[in-house]
Amino acid sequence: MLKFKEVKNFLLNFGPQHPAAHGVLRLILETDGEVIKKADSHIGLLHRGTEKLLENKIYTQGLPYFDRLDYVSMMAQELTFSMSIEKVLGITIPKRAMYLRVVFLELTRILNHLLALTTHALDVGAMTPFLWAFEEREKLMEFYERVSGARLHANFIRPGGLAWDCNSSLLYDIFNWLNNFESHIFELENVLIHNRIFKQRLVNIGVMPAFKAFNWGYTGVMLRSTGIKWDLRKTGFLNNLYKDFLAKIPIGLRGDCYDRFLMRIQEMYESCFIIRNALETLPEGNIMSTNSKIIVPPRRNMRMDMEALIHHFKLCSEGYDIFKGQSYFALEAPKGEFGVFLATSNSNKPYRCYIRAPGFFHLQSLDEMSYSHMLADLVTIIGTQDIVFGEVDR
C-alpha cells in the first residue's frame, strides 16, 4: 500500500541582520525545499518618520532629511526637494548652478552605481570589485567633502541654487579623476562581465516583463531593463538641460539581473560623458538666484549691513511662507523616479510632504520576482533591485 507523506512548506526568517539584506530587510520566506514560494517582506525597521518631521520643520531645515533618505545618492534627493520648492515658487536658477547640479547629480549616480554593482557582486561571491569600487567612492566622497564640507550628507543643493561655489581646482580634479575613472570601470567590467560564475548567478534570474513592470510601478533602471525607453532626464523637468549632454540611454532586452548589471555599468560611462560635457561648457556667473525672498544674503554683507543680518536671521529662523497648493515633482535619481509631493498651506512649513521612493516600489515586487527561484537567487534579486532602506522606510 502506498503511503503518502504530507509535505509542508518551510517557513524561514531572513534578516533583519543579514549581510545580503542590504540594511534591515526582514523576509518571511515560504520555501518548498530550497525553492521560494512566497517572500513576505517586512519593512519599516528603519522608519524614522521623515514625513512627519518635515511637517514640523521650515523648508530650509527640512532639506538635510533628504540626504538621509537614500544615503548613497544624497544629492539626487536634495535636488528633488530643492527643485520642487523652486518649481512651486517659480524661481529661476542661474545657469552655472544648474550645470554644477548636473555635475554633482551625475557624480552621485556614479557613487550609487558603484555601491549597487559591487555589493551585488559581493553578495554573489565576487569580492575584488567591491574593494576597487570603494576606493573610487572614497575619491568621490572627497569631492563631496571639498564642495560641501561633508562626506555623505552634503546639504549642498539648496532651494534657489547651491550653498557654495566650486573653485576651479576642484573642477580640475574632477575632470582629471574622470579620465582615470573610465579605465577603472573597464577593469570592473572586465572582471565580472565574462565571469562564468557571475553569469550563472545572474543570467535569467529575476526576469520581469514590461507589462508587469508597469503594474508594479517600476522606474529607473528596473523599468529600462524591460526594454522601455523611459528616463526622466530625457522626458522630465531637466530635459532642457540634459538635451545637450545626454547621448544615449542604455536599455535592457530581457529584463533579468544580468541586463540590469550591464545597464548600470553603461550608465556610469554615460555619467562620465555628461560630467565631462558639463564641465567643459560650465558657464561663469552666480550660483544663487537673486530672489532675496528666499535666498539668504551673502556672508560678507552680513558683516557690514544690519539689514542683511536681520534678513538672514528671519530667513533662517522663520523661513518663508508659501501659499496653499499642491505639487508633485520628480527627478531621475540613480534608483528610479524619486518624487516629492508637496502640499503647502499658507505657512512656512510643508503641510504634507510625501516622498516617493523608487526602492519602495521595487521591493514590493520581490515576492513575484523571486517566485520559484532558489534561495540563493533571492540574494541576487535583492542586490539587483538596489535597495537602500533609508528611502524604503523613510
Binding site: T235, E318, T344, S365
Partner: protein, 234 residues
C-alpha cells in the same frame, strides 16, 4: 458631473496668457487629455489642466476631482482604455485636512487622497483627487495595480484609512503592535511611547514617553508678505 465640456476647457487653455506656443506644440497631448476626461465625464466633479511652462517639451498635467464612490470605476476606465494603457501608478498619497485652514476643522472633508498616474507613452501625468470624511471606506485598487498594495497599506498604517477589497491590510512602516496613525494631524510629533532599556528588569521595552521639556513650537504669524505660487506642477 463635469463642470466644463471639452470645448470650454480647450478655450480656457488657449486663452491662458502666454501659453499659446506651448499649446500648439503639445496640441496632441491636450487632445489626448481631453479625450481622457470626456471618457470619464460621468464621474468627474472638476477638472484642472495645467502645463509645465518652464519646459517646452514637458508634461501635460491634469488633475481631476472625483466622488470617492466612483474612484475604482474611474481608474478602471482609465486603465482599460487605449489612452492610458502604458500607465504607471506613481504614488497614492493622503493629506489630513484637519488643520488646513486655521481655526476651521474640516471634518466632512477630512482626508484628501491623491492618486498620481504617469503615462509613459504620452509623457503625461494625471492626478485623481478624492475628498472624504473620517471612517469612509475607499475601494482598493490592488486588483488593477499591484503597486497599490503597499501604498494602500502605508496609508492604512499612517492615516488609518480602510481599503475595501485589499487582501492584506497590515501595518507596514510602523513597529509591530504600534497603535495610532502617526501622520494624522492630531498625532503628536513626539508620539506617546518610547523604546527604553529598563535597568532593573533588564530588558528593552516600550514606556510612556518622558520628555525633559515640552516640545515647543515657535510659529508666529509672519509680518512678511507671503510668496505667491507661480507655477504648479502636479
Amino acid at each position: 458631473m463635469i463642470i466644463l465640456n471639452k470645448n470650454q476647457i480647450f478655450n480656457r487653455i488657449i486663452n491662458k496668457k502666454s501659453d499659446k506656443q506651448l499649446i500648439t506644440f503639445n496640441k496632441y497631448k491636450v487632445l489626448f487629455m481631453l479625450d481622457l476626461i470626456s471618457l470619464c465625464s460621468d464621474v468627474v466633479e472638476s477638472v484642472d489642466l495645467q502645463f509645465d511652462t518652464a519646459v517646452t517639451e514637458g508634461h501635460i498635467n491634469c488633475s481631476i476631482s472625483v466622488n470617492p464612490v466612483n474612484i475604482f470605476y474611474t481608474i478602471l476606465m482609465l486603465t482599460s482604455s487605449n489612452l492610458f494603457c502604458e500607465c504607471n501608478l506613481i504614488a497614492i498619497t493622503c493629506i489630513d485636512n484637519l488643520v488646513q485652514d486655521k481655526f476651521i476643522k474640516n471634518l466632512d472633508k477630512r482626508f484628501t487622497l491623491t492618486y498620481i498616474f504617469l503615462d509613459v507613452k504620452n509623457n503625461s501625468r494625471l492626478n485623481i483627487n478624492i475628498n472624504f470624511s473620517e471612517g469612509y471606506i475607499i475601494q482598493s485598487i490592488t486588483s488593477l495595480f499591484k503597486s497599490a498594495n503597499w501604498l494602500e497599506r502605508e496609508i492604512f498604517d499612517l492615516f488609518g484609512i480602510f481599503f475595501a477589497g485589499h487582501k492584506d491590510l497590515r501595518r507596514i512602516l510602523t513597529d509591530y503592535g504600534f497603535q495610532g496613525n502617526p501622520l494624522k494631524k492630531d498625532f503628536p510629533l513626539t508620539g506617546y511611547l518610547e523604546l527604553r532599556y529598563d535597568e532593573y528588569k533588564k530588558y528593552v521595552g516600550y514606556k510612556n514617553i518622558d520628555l525633559m521639556q515640552e516640545f515647543r513650537v515657535f510659529n508666529t504669524e509672519s509680518p512678511w508678505e507671503k510668496l505667491e505660487i507661480v507655477s504648479f506642477t502636479l
